[in-house]
């Protein structure tokens, strides 16, 4: 058994994904993949959702989605890119449904606050702005792009593969998101490129 597990550990992600696609239940190959992508998936979920409880829930959803869609992976991209794309989509869906729920309950969301006439762009001098809160003025996908780019250090070509955009479209969206933050928060909204 140890020998088999050892052999699985030596396999590439793509080879393991092919093995997992043939497994009827969550067998050794899929379990190895869960172990490999646990940390990365958790980081994406935590960055995009901002708290441990939602991230825990979303990370579980990601692995369930990976298992249910395991036969759909065709190997056209790297398996890691596919996992990250599923993680991002799951988190965006969860944030949208959370936003809808909060709107139904009458609690203002980031987007609602964005439309309110009170200006949040004039913090008291020396006040420390919460960077992550500042990103709430962006739409969900742009927020995710900025977080993965700056907080997790993804390159533009990786972002393009995850979000199914061109590299130039990714660059443009990140640049526009930066401009939007700068407009909203003035000098404190970041400098440099």
């Amino acid at each position: 058994m140890d020998g088999f597990a050892g052999k699985l550990d030596e396999q590439s992600d793509e080879a393991l994904a092919a093995l997992a696609a043939r497994e009827g239940s969550d067998g050794a190959a899929f379990t190895t993949l869960v172990g490999r992508f646990r940390e990365r998936t958790w980081r994406i979920c935590y960055r995009l959702l901002g708290n441990e409880s939602d991230a825990h829930d979303a990370a579980q959803d990601v692995f369930v989605a990976l298992f249910l869609q395991r036969a759909k992976f065709r190997g056209e991209s790297k398996y890691s890119t596919w996992v990250h794309a599923v993680a991002v989509r799951t988190c965006l869906m969860q944030r949208r449904s959370r936003g809808r729920r909060l709107r139904r309950e009458g609690t203002p969301t980031g987007a609602d606050l964005d439309q309110q006439p009170t200006r949040r762009d004039a913090p008291a001098p020396g006040a420390k702005l919460d960077l992550v809160q500042m990103l709430d003025v962006l739409d969900e996908e742009d927020r995710a792009l900025v977080l993965l780019k700056y907080a997790e250090g993804y390159e533009y070509d990786e972002l393009a593969a995850i979000f199914e955009l061109s590299v130039s479209a990714c660059k443009m969206r990140v640049s526009r998101a930066r401009e939007k933050i700068q407009e909203r928060y003035g000098g404190s909204g970041g400098s440099g490129g």
Binding site: S25, D26, T31, V34, G35, R38, E39, W42, R43, Y46, R47, E52, H56, A59, Q60, F63, V64, F67, L68, L131, V132, V146, L147, K149, Y150, A151, E152, G153, R178, S188, G189, G190, S191, G192, G193
Partner: protein
């Protein structure tokens, strides 16, 4: 330093130790549901079809004294 690059300094806690266990638990619930759906869609109609055939054969035998009509 670019303010956006400070996002990388926001600490991410380590993943909970129970994450993998919870994944397997949730997956097992899904698999159970999928197997039940598969059972209802495939096995139940198949078994019911066989049962109905047997009952029809028994009725035919009772009425005509023949199990299958001879050609």
């Amino acid at each position: 330093m670019d303010l956006f690059e400070q996002l990388a300094d926001v600490r991410v806690p380590p993943p909970p130790k129970s994450l993998v266990r919870h994944v397997h638990r949730r997956l097992n619930r899904w698999l159970l549901a999928l197997h039940l759906v598969e059972f209802v869609i495939h096995v139940v109609p198949y078994a019911a079809g066989h049962f109905v055939r047997a009952v029809l054969g028994w009725l035919l035998l009772t009425i005509s004294g023949e199990y299958e009509k001879k050609k």
